[in-house]
Amino acid sequence: MSNEKIKAELEKYEAAVAKVVAKNPERAHLPEQRLYTPLDIKGVEAYTDEIGFPGEYPFTRGVQPTMYRGRFWTMRMYAGFSTAKASNERYRYLIANGGTGLSCAFDLPTQIGYDSDDPISEGEVGKVGVAIDSLADMEVLFDQIDLGKVSTSMTINAPASVLLSMYIAVAEEQGVPADQLRGTIQNDILKEYAARGTYIFPPKPSMRIITNIFEYCSKNVPKWNTISISGYHIREAGSTASQEIAFTIADGIAYVDAAIKAGMDVDDFAGRLSFFWNAHNNVLEEVAKFRASRRVWAKVMKERFGAKKPKSMMLRVHTQTAGSMLTAQQPNNNIIRVALQTAAAVMGGTQSLHTNSRDEALALPTQESVTIALRTQQIVANESGLADVIDPLAGSYYVEAMTDRIEKEAWDYIKKIDELGGAVAAIEKGYIQKEIQDSAYKWQMDVENKRRIIVGVNEYTMEEEPPKGLLKVDASVGVEQCKKLADLKAGKPINKMTKGRDNEAVKAALAELKDACKNEKENLMPHILKAVKTYATLGEICNVMREVFGLYEAHVSL
């Protein structure tokens, strides 16, 4: 059938619809276009260039040739709270119940490089994640977990080099060499400045540390994903789908630029870059977003950076369902939201997935809630059929048109950010933050004006009993952690240590690290690893780095 014929028929249809709508208006606040046809997508002649085949450039249909027909995505539940011991129990529970990868949540002092006994940590120890002060805590965190078998993702950014070093050291104690380790550190400082807030150092030394990690891992920890360039938090902060991938890919461009400037060959590190997307409520838009993001990144790597290896062009992605879309009202409804978001991530072709629990708008999740969230993934994987055919929505007029639309919007933003001098400059100017804030405010106003309905929040509300059985982190965690730290710093043996730490060795290692920080040509990783092995604390190590590098001054705007 020719386009002319479709066009003629479409006009007839639209004329008929106009009459119907005049009599019975459609619902308010809908997207303008009600129907998609072959006229909205590129013709078959564009197929091989723009859509192609799974595992092949431009990877629109997925990064692996067989996708979930080979094996399901990694079911990786983000967890961590209280002490290393409590978190270790949760990890072992998740593995015993079919979780296939670990994902560590650290508390805020850990994420910002402070020890639990620092005055600034008061009230925060063990709250949003597990408290890690030294290698001693890390040993407990992975007790009875074989680091040669499991893959571990760590949500750690500014002090990623320190936590990765601790992980390498624990593995060594277990007899697992670094080149066998699999996992990911988030290590994405730019989105911390723009959206998440756990920054420490200014951009320049931060980019140096990140580049040091790329370089160190390419030689010593080759199976490790050295960064998870994250749109998740940008979306959580309020961005749109297009902004999520655009700002994140702009960050990715900045990291690749920095590594190339430091003298690395793009194909030596690009294959270990990974991404992190949000699975939001609008199922089809999310699927289109995943597809568009792979195409944009592939083109960036091939055309802009001249990557040669296909692996360097693949956008491999971890996904988490949207925490900000969970409601405190009627929390069981969140199970359904998460199921739909899971479907979106799977149809979008994610490599791993965390599903949120129903009670997370209220508190950290209970074990029962986490189990439901994990089972949600297992149901989608095994029962829904969504994992049986690769990229099942390809060819949908709507999804293909939306994939093209999101790609175009992303390119427009990337161009704008290039004009501002790249992602670092755009963040320093507050541009990216402002765009996100504007979208967040619009969303909130749409909810308040009922242009957007959230079930249980602004429609279908009801009187509810306050929820029972929420998980509570005891305030004694802070006390316990501080006591352990005092013993460690006093040179007393803790955990399974046969003797206490050698404070002279700690001092020497920290002095060596300080010198290395001052020498821009020096890779910091070996020095950090050495300090970690003396049981120098996270705070001690980060304080040395703070002394040399200074602190980031945030751009505050409304």
Partner: protein
């Protein structure tokens, strides 16, 4: 009274400020004068800013669970500075069960997820002195 002046503050180490910024903007759109502290403020810094800016309202947001420790501390420091009438409110991911103790400590109202910004505006208008 003159234009109501509000300090929107993020105590503690929590970096989630979508809510704080949305509320700040809504308060501004409602005709209030709004100052936002930015992230990672100690209770001392917040109390100091409240005094320097001579605000009528301190509105804090915490999503990290540190509210039982930090909210009361801010109230005490603000009162110690002689600001007896300053209205102090809080919001964020705050379990229902924690609210009575926070109110006991002097937090006038606690706004939890799903609250329309208009409810915060109305509360301030009705309760500011």
């Amino acid at each position: 009274m003159d234009k109501i002046k509000v300090l929107v503050a993020k105590p503690g180490l929590d970096g989630h400020d979508r809510g704080a910024k949305v509320v700040a903007r809504a308060l501004r759109d409602a005709g209030f004068e709004v100052v936002y502290t930015g992230l990672r403020q100690t209770p001392e810094q917040i109390a100091e800013a409240a005094m320097q800016e001579d605000v009528n309202v301190v509105a804090m947001s915490i999503l990290s669970g540190a509210h039982p420790h930090l909210f009361p501390k801010v109230v005490n420091l603000v009162r110690e500075k002689g600001m007896k009438d300053t209205l102090i409110i809080g919001g964020g991911v705050i379990p229902e069960g924690d609210i009575p103790a926070l109110k006991e400590a002097g937090i006038a109202e606690v706004f939890t997820p799903g609250t329309p910004t208009t409810a915060i505006v109305d509360f301030i208008k009705a309760n500011v002195k």
